[in-house]
């Protein structure tokens, strides 16, 4: 039967055909987040006590249109379907169902996904939801403070104060100038002319700047709600594809061209677990290096290029990039990063002497399907099991206790495990695939 073609007047399309880019790299419309007159002469208008007064203007803290800072963000950045700007699947996915967003930072709904599985009869292992990401407090959406870690690991930032605005400057004051320097609005008179996060973003001019990557906060930043923890390091440099909330597959990836400074920026809160100095193999007491100076040594470059999966070192450097194990390009030049992103799914591998390991090489910024907000599972011997024909599988949470199928599944359905791997199936891996640390280290 012939499909019904909708009658759409051109005038309608023209009148509202432009989708809305709210932040545009800087401060957005004030009333998108705040209600201006939720108070009157310094007194909060309270609907319950004073029902005749302005009921639609009742406010949360800081005149926000939500119970807290993160809830204000999630009013827009949440939803039931994959959408460019959604970072939380809402309503929260049911038991056995997976979050639906695949932004590079990850879907905060993973924070609500807890699992347990029987590694031996009557012996259980557990994966708590709160271990899967940054536990931002968003009470309206059921996201609560971490119950275990009272402060940021490697730092002192308090759990009760962890909001989206702890990392992102909601007013987007940090900006990239024509010379590549990143400053806040106090140190320049140049306005922000648009987002600087995308391959399609504008280029800074002599008179205008572009917004810092993802309106992240830079040096000196302190959210108004939590002072005493000023950022020491500035915003990282990176460029994403304009369409960045994309489910990957066994063959297609959604790359972020991470440039530089990500690890240093993470160290604003996690300084104690960060090491950017020269790493001396064999010396005790050190941490895995990450940072602008943590260049990938030649043997790691060679490993990265050749590693395909456990037991398969047939890869080529030119097509070796894996978003489960990304690296920084080692540049703060937006033009270079945009050039990388000019090719959809660019799989070019690391360049010797330039690429470096970063926090993002193993972790995602928001949340993931795995403990420690890792990009890949590390709590099982294997990432995959095998069927009778020797083909890789993602296990089966309903198998008998102690079997490889149960250990690989880690309580997750195949749908959840595939989503945690950003749409990959078992076919991306070898049967009995070992952890993705081996992409760089090849010990398997």
């Amino acid at each position: 039967m012939k499909a019904i073609k909708l009658a759409v007047a051109a005038a309608i399309a023209l009148s509202y055909g432009s989708a809305y880019a709210f932040h545009s790299g800087g401060v957005a419309e004030c009333n998108g987040c705040h209600t201006m007159h939720g108070s009157f002469e310094g007194v909060q208008v309270d609907q319950e006590e004073n029902p005749v007064a302005m009921p639609y203007l009742t406010t949360g803290p800081y005149l926000l249109k939500a119970s807290d800072q993160s809830s204000a963000c999630l009013n827009c950045h949440s939803g039931p379907t994959l959408s460019g700007y959604h970072v939380l699947t809402w309503p929260l996915p049911a038991v056995g169902a997976a979050p639906v967003n695949f932004t590079p930072g990850g879907d905060f709904a993973w924070l609500t996904k807890s699992y347990s599985w029987e590694v031996r009869t009557n012996t259980f292992e557990e994966s708590k939801g709160e271990r899967k990401g940054h536990n931002v407090v968003a009470a309206d959406f059921g996201l609560l403070a971490d119950t275990t870690l009272t402060v940021a690991p490697g730092g002192t930032y308090p759990r009760e104060s962890l909001h989206c605005s702890s990392c992102h400057d909601p007013h987007g004051k940090y900006r990239v100038l024509e010379d590549g320097s990143i400053v806040d609005g106090k140190t320049t008179s140049k306005p922000i002319i648009g987002s600087g996060s995308y391959q399609t973003s504008k280029t800074p001019t002599t008179w205008g700047a572009v917004g810092a990557y993802r309106i992240l906060a830079g040096a000196g930043y302190e959210p108004k709600s939590t002072t005493g923890f000023p950022f020491a390091n500035t915003v990282p440099v990176a460029v994403a594809r304009a369409t960045y909330n994309v489910k990957e597959s066994d063959t297609v990836i959604n790359r972020v061209a991470y440039g530089s400074g990500m690890s240093e920026w993470c160290a604003n809160c996690h300084a104690g677990i960060h090491l950017n100095e020269a790493y001396v193999s064999g010396q005790p007491g050190l941490r895995h290096p990450a940072g602008n100076d943590a260049k990938l040594p030649d043997f790691v470059i060679a490993n990265y290029g050749s590693y395909v999966k456990s037991g398969d070192l047939s890869g080529a450097l030119a097509t070796s990039y894996n978003t489960l194990t990304p690296f920084e390009e080692g540049t703060s030049d937006l033009a270079v990063l945009k050039a990388i992103q000019a090719t959809v799914g660019n799989k070019a591998g690391p360049i010797a002497g330039e690429a470096n390991v970063s926090c993002m090489s193993c972790h995602r910024a928001h949340a993931t399907g795995f403990d420690s907000m890792l990009r890949f599972p590390l709590s099982a011997d294997y990432m995959t099991a095998a069927d009778a024909a020797g083909l890789p599988t993602l296990g089966d949470p309903t198998s008998a206790p102690g079997t490889d199928n149960v250990k690989v599944a880690m309580g997750r359905t195949n749908v959840e495990l595939s989503a945690a791997l950003y749409g990959r199936t078992a076919a991306s891996f070898a049967p009995f695939q070992r952890a993705m640390c081996n992409k760089c280290h090849v010990k398997d």
């Binding site: 039967m1 499909a3 019904i4 073609k5 909708l6 759409v8 309608i12 399309a13 023209l14 509202y16 055909g17 432009s18 989708a19 809305y20 880019a21 709210f22 545009s24 998108g32 209600t35 009157f40 002469e41 609907q47 319950e48 005749v52 007064a53 302005m54 009921p55 639609y56 009742t58 406010t59 249109k65 119970s67 809830s71 009013n75 827009c76 939803g79 039931p80 379907t81 994959l82 959408s83 460019g84 700007y85 959604h86 809402w90 309503p91 929260l92 049911a94 038991v95 169902a97 009470a139 309206d140 959406f141 059921g142 648009g194 987002s195 995308y198 399609t200 304009a242 369409t243 960045y244």
Partner: protein, 319 residues
Amino acid sequence: MSVGFRQIAVAAIAVAWATAAFGAPVAGAAPRKPTRFLHSLTSMTGPLTTSGASVAFDPRSKELLVVAEGLVHVFNPSGVLVHRFGQDDDLRRIRAVTALDAASGDYAVLADGESGPELVRCDYRGTRLGAIALENVPAEVGPFAPDSVAFVGGRLYLGDESHRRVVVIDVTGRYERWFDLERAIGTGTEKGYVEPSVRGLQVDPRGNILFVVPPLFRAFVVAPDGSVRSFGTKGDTPGRFNVVVAITSDDLGRIYVVDVLRCAISVWDPELRFVEQFGFRGFGPGGLVTPGSIVAGDGKVFVSQGRDRGVSVFQPGEG
């Protein structure tokens, strides 16, 4: 007792707001009776505490169907939980439900199948009667993964908000037609990175497809003949949209639009003229926190919320 400037100012603002919200009073006309809060849905052990549930109305029995955590919760016309299904292997992780014909008393549900969403017919107990497989869907429909279902006029409307499509089938699964909502919206992205995400897809008893597009601050009504009407303007005051996430209509053709940012519901007449607004951000009776799914039926409006606040029931205004 003297009346201070502040009281006068508050009263003046209140009158101004009321005029904006309810319209200017007409001499000689009976005052409009505004929408009022009735109660919250409850079980025998206390109020329903779901967050972000989706709601559907069963006109056969005047029951409300609440889908939360993969289960269907059935509430009687008094708002009390009477039944729940979906917790066994017959139906896994139910995402949406609709009441089928009165004669059978059955439901159609969208649940997780082995390889994606599965449309299943089940009886009133939730016992699986069989899958409804889509047949003869033309290739031009493109990728399709339904996340909503509605039974209207003897047909099943399957909605896919991600791909912005509605496919209409008969109760056996045979394809009849499809609607391309992207064409209805009139796409085009100013900066190339925000797609027109569709929210709150519903089909009213007259076969109109209703949905909202938050980034455009607009609500859409697609009639059975394919004609499109839309309305909405960005703003904070009653009759304008901040972040709209859901939409429904009642038996009289009035349309209700949920604004999650303002925690308010705007009401529009069948000609898409603003009538009134109800709800406010608050935790007391009639207050709303993170309002989402909405449905109307039996002279009531049901609004689902976040923060474990379940579902609130309102009586629409009159006049």
